[in-house]
């Protein structure tokens, strides 16, 4: 029974630990530099902490409010509730709250601080374009995000980035202010202050950039993990692949016009297969390219056959 897609994701755990170690080190180095430079450290920390805790505590409410998602009862959406219940029952998971967003854009997300308080939200557009098996695939994906505590993981990961950002801001103004005071004081520290600001800004910028990229990488990896989890939950990776293609509009690329009708348009046959990957764009995106996700799902499907 040990097929590749069924194995536990040790790589994920390792990557998470590595990412946190790297981020923590960066954070500490950054703090160390600030402390060394004598920036008003305590006020910065207090403000940043309060903001982060608030962000964390209200995260699900903020997300639901900002997306316009309404939690719905079983009476309002019996089929959607039934579908979610089937998957959670099969996989021994707590049932999340279900929310619906009145939007024609097909999308879904999961949020929540803990497994029990989590919410899965889908748009009406998603329910319109997907059949029930494809919808199961998407719900499975979101349920895996919940099971893997991805909201917590990403929030914690973002925390470092956020802290670095705040410190950079405070550090920047603090540094200017400090430098100015030094000037009034007789010019003793002027030269040193200017150099320090530059160093500090450089360190802050690097910290922020690296942590930003690491978060994006974690996020992309969590997406693959959620796709795999969904495939395990539903046993039908190809349905999620189908759903992903529909959502991304890739499905519209599969033509419906007859080959015999387009044959005259020879241009169709000389378009080179697009193999060039946009690596830079990939670095900054939170989701891996759909084609790659579909490919992985199809590999899972092949290994299950």
């Amino acid at each position: 029974m040990s097929r590749p897609w069924q194995r536990r994701d040790n790589g994920l755990t390792l990557r998470m630990i590595m990412s946190f170690v790297i981020l923590t080190l960066l954070y500490l180095v950054f703090l160390g530099v600030l402390v060394y430079l004598g920036v008003g450290f305590i006020p910065i920390t207090i403000v940043a902490s309060v903001l982060i805790i608030a962000q964390w505590y209200f995260s699900d409410k903020i997300v639901l409010w900002s997306s316009g998602a309404k939690v719905v009862t079983r009476e309002q959406f019996p089929e959607l509730h039934g579908l979610v219940e089937r998957i959670v029952a099969m996989n021994n998971l707590p049932k999340p709250k279900i929310a619906v967003i009145n939007s024609s854009v097909p999308n879904a997300f999961a949020t929540g601080k803990s497994q029990r308080s989590s919410v899965v939200a889908v748009t009406t557009g998603l329910m319109d374009i997907l059949d029930s098996e494809e919808l199961e695939g998407v719900i499975g994906h979101e349920l895996t995000h919940i099971r893997n505590r991805d909201v917590l993981v990403i929030t914690l990961a973002s925390l470092f980035s956020t802290v670095a950002w705040y410190l950079m801001q405070f550090g920047f103004y603090g540094g200017l202010y400090g430098g100015g005071m030094g000037g009034y004081g007789g010019g003793r520290d002027r030269g040193g202050g200017g150099g320090a600001i530059l160093i500090m800004l450089a360190v802050a910028a690097v910290t922020w950039l690296v942590s930003f990229l690491v978060i994006r990488a974690i996020s992309r990896y969590r997406e693959f993990a959620a796709d795999r989890g969904s495939a395990q939950m539903t046993g039908k990776p190809v349905q999620l692949a189908n759903a992903l293609m529909k959502i991304s509009g890739t499905m519209q690329r599969v033509p419906n016009r007859d080959l015999r009708k387009v044959e005259g348009l020879n241009a169709f046959f000389i378009i080179p297969v697009n193999s060039g990957r946009q690596t830079i764009a990939n670095l900054f995106s939170t989701h891996p390219p759909v084609q790659m996700r579909v490919q992985k799902l199809l590999e899972m499907e092949a290994s299950m056959a």
């Binding site: 098996e133 190809v238 349905q239 692949a241 189908n242 293609m245 890739t250 499905m251 690329r253 599969v254 033509p255 419906n256 016009r257 007859d258 080959l259 015999r260 009708k261 387009v262 044959e263 169709f268 046959f269 378009i271 297969v273 697009n274 579909v294 199809l298 590999e299 499907e301 092949a302 056959a305």
Partner: protein, 210 residues
Amino acid sequence: MIDTFLKKLGKGGLYRKSDDHREEGIFSLSSGYITLQTKLDLTSTNRCGICIKNVNGTYFSNTIEEVQEFLRISNSEFRTKHILINDKYGYLWIMIKGISIEDILVASNGIADVIIDRGFKDQMLAAVFEFRKTVSPNSNLDSSQLEPQFLIFNYKREKFYPFVPLASQEKRHSDLELVLASIISKEIPWETDMSVWYPMWDMPFNKMRT
């Protein structure tokens, strides 16, 4: 004329090296079909259709005459039957039925050789191979899964892609097509660009007596 056909049966014709990958492309199905059988319970119906753009003129009709002659002569060797059908799009279909998939692969390749030798390579559109689910007594497949599933070989791009039409409407079973892709795309020359997975509606497979 008969000499030409007999030569084709020998090494010089059928298995000659060519500048294109058409032969190795189509022949990859001779191992690929086993994968379809073991992993998807899809068996070849041993029927295929070669779709050629019709040309007015005696040279083309002579060529088609030669193709038929070739099929008649090689009949004893490949055990194939064939019919010609003109479709509403102005294309000529050479429909072949054999005893095994090798028969139709060799026959379809021989046909292509004749047509290309006569300079009509650009008229060759596609070779379509038909598969069906094997029905085992205790299977509970829904009827849609029993519909034929096709692999289309595009002669222009020399690649295969899947085509599973929904019965009686111009729609496709995209999930079954993706399953096909997942199973066989590594084994045969595969069209990875889905935007050229052009369907072929109303193929004259039902016009052939089985």
